[in-house]
């Protein structure tokens, strides 16, 4: 026990002094969190509108000012030629050419009625349609006012905050799972392949220590690091983005330990398969890279095509990120996520078994 304790302390020192490992386990995922957190996918999208006006009369000018004040419109003013060039370049969704007497000061004959000409970007039809329907609403509202009639009904809006998740709330648990996967897989696969390649494991075998003691102390170190990662991410998420955190932290940490243990098994399997340090990234990425996108980190698995969901749902990372997300954002308890926990346990058992089969301290002595 004393040996494992001393080894674990030494392993911790090695881990935190390894700048490359720190970069990939902490700084890169934090960087991703900051970028996605500050980009703000949740703000309503801005529509680029080209506005062409000449010498509008007073009521038309009033109408134009109203359009300009609309928060979702980003207005570019210019001549028709200038705006059309922008539209052709794809920089605008729609151009509105407003005639000077759009809203007449005195009643006019129907054939003298003026129109807004809307040039629409066919490639951004959705945005263009939004603008057109907003204009039509203006029109209807003005007509109703003019006709001085009662509206048949009104709609009263009440904002109710029903666990409204922002993207950062969705992302954070996935990012924690992803970074723990990266840490567990790569820190073990690289370090142990290097130990094997450079004869460190052989030197350790020449001591009376049991190899399992060495493996266990390395495992404990990385489990501890995974808890540290989760704590830092949650802390910064709360501090910088006030993320939604409703579940039990204890259950979060249980998921973290299970997930890390599962991926440590994968890390040892890879270092068992890799002959040289150079082959580690190749082997590891075959497994890890697809999971980065299919494991429910950046996109919800439920948004994927059905055939892909079949695969995505049973990936180790998916069980891990789903469990974390349910606990953190929905406050799910042990009873709600037990399926994911079982999924992780099964994967953990498979991967650790694979590790004990493939990973050897020494090349098999065929004597």
């Amino acid at each position: 026990m004393n040996t494992i304790y001393k080894l674990t302390i030494a392993e911790m020192k090695m881990f935190v002094r390894n700048k490359q490992a720190l970069f990939f386990t902490l700084f890169m995922p934090l960087f991703i969190m900051l970028i996605f957190g500050y980009i703000g996918f949740d703000k309503p999208p801005v529509i680029d509108v080209g506005l062409v006006t000449y010498k509008p009369n007073a009521p038309t000018q009033q109408f134009i000012d109203q359009i300009k004040s609309f928060p979702t419109f980003k207005i570019h003013e210019g001549t028709l030629e200038e705006e059309q060039k922008l539209l052709n370049d794809g920089d605008l969704s729609i151009i509105l050419a407003v005639p000077d007497y759009l809203i007449p000061t005195a009643p006019v004959l129907p054939e003298e009625k003026q129109s807004i000409i809307a040039y629409e970007n066919a490639g951004q039809a959705g945005q263009a349609q939004t603008v057109v329907s907003i204009l039509n609403q203006f029109n209807t509202a003005a007509a109703i006012k003019k006709a001085n009639v009662e509206l048949p009904f009104t709609v009263v809006e009440r904002a109710v905050n029903v666990n409204n998740l922002r993207y950062i709330d969705f992302l954070l648990p996935g990012l924690i799972a992803l970074s723990i996967m990266q840490m567990s897989v790569f820190s073990v696969a690289f370090v142990f392949t290097q130990y094997k390649e450079k004869g460190v494991l052989k030197r350790i075998l020449a001591t009376p220590m049991k190899p399992i003691q060495f493996v266990v102390s390395n495992g404990i170190t990385r489990l501890f690091i995974s808890l540290l990662q989760a704590t830092i991410f949650i802390g910064l998420g709360l501090l910088l983005f006030k993320v939604h955190l409703v579940g039990s932290l204890l259950l979060v940490f249980l998921c973290v330990l299970l997930g890390a243990a599962m991926f440590l098994g994968l890390g040892f399997t890879i270092s068992g398969l890799a002959k040289t340090t150079e082959s580690v990234p190749a082997i590891a990425n075959i497994v890890v890279f697809p999971m980065m996108f299919l494991g429910g980190t950046f996109f919800a698995v439920s948004n994927m095509p059905a055939w892909l969901q079949v695969i995505a749902k049973v990936l180790p990372l998916t069980f891990f990120s789903t469990a974390l997300r349910d606990v953190m954002t929905k406050g799910s308890g042990f009873g709600d996520i037990w399926m994911d926990l079982v999924g992780m346990l099964v994967w953990g058992a498979i991967l650790i078994t694979l590790a004990t089969v493939t990973f050897r301290f020494q090349e098999r002595d065929s004597g």
């Binding site: 040996t3 030494a10 020192k13 450079k198 004869g199 030197r203 009376p208 220590m209 004597g367």
Partner: protein, 251 residues
């Protein structure tokens, strides 16, 4: 003197290839025993079987009264090992490294005292990657001494070192022997074997073809009528090199 190691009929086969073919010898307590031979002669395989790192195909090794194959942990506790190609953990300084190896032996070591023995006290806070080749070998030996071993195994400890560093390492090996530690050493350098070893086993093709003291081996050869052109020079190029560059260590 009594034997500390007895090797009987030791054989190691890899499929059809016989790396070590039924060798027997014994090593006396406190002596420095050299194993010489060309590459592929079976030196390292023999050493690694004695260290408990490889399992013999047949034969027996008794070290300090213990059967290496059956009580390998007990044997590993009383031997020190310097492997041919062994690097150590990155991210630890020399003191931490010695402490961690001591922990693997379930003991504690006086790291500074060990570093002093191998003259690396000024590098105590450095990492392995900052050491020169000779310093790395000295560290390797210091780590081999953490458990205060009865037998120290050195596998080609001076390969790749410059003449100054080699001589420095010889002095270190002599001082270890002077403390009563039995030393088993493999080498390609005959001068090294002559300076350090009490007895030498010459291996070739997995067999021991000669085993005696360096003096006796030379006498036996001369007795066969061997002679080589007598050199009039009383010095060689290495003497010139050391005269010009001095004996002081460069790392």
């Amino acid at each position: 003197m009594s034997s500390i190691i007895t090797v009987t009929d030791l054989t190691k086969k890899y499929g059809d290839f016989t790396a070590v073919g039924g060798i027997s010898f014994s090593v006396e307590k406190g002596e420095t025993f050299g194993i010489l031979g060309p590459n592929g002669a079976g030196k390292t395989t023999t050493l690694e079987m004695m260290e408990g790192l490889k399992t013999p195909t047949s034969g027996e090794i008794i070290l300090d009264g213990k059967n290496v194959a059956k009580e390998s942990d007990a044997v590993k506790s009383v031997i020190g090992v310097q492997l041919q190609a062994s690097t150590f953990f990155e991210g630890l300084n020399l003191v931490e490294l010695i402490d961690i190896f001591a922990a693997m032996y379930g003991t504690e070591a006086n790291a500074m005292k060990l570093l002093e023995e191998v003259e690396l006290t000024d590098k105590a806070k450095s990492q392995v990657k900052e050491l020169s080749g000779g310093q790395k070998q000295r560290l390797s030996i210091a780590i081999g001494l953490v458990n205060d071993p009865k037998v120290l195994f050195l596998d080609e400890p001076t390969t790749g070192l410059d003449p100054q560093a080699r001589r420095h390492l010889w002095e270190l090996v002599k001082s270890i022997k002077a403390k009563g530690t039995t030393v088993i050493i493999t080498t390609h350098y005959m001068d090294e074997a002559e300076v350090l070893c009490d007895r030498i086993a010459i291996m070739d093709g997995g067999k021991i073809i000669q085993l005696d003291t360096p003096d006796n081996l030379i006498k036996k050869l001369l007795a066969t009528g061997f002679s080589k052109p007598v050199l009039q020079q009383q010095a060689n190029l290495e003497d010139v090199f050391l005269k010009m560059t001095g004996h002081a260590l460069r790392d």
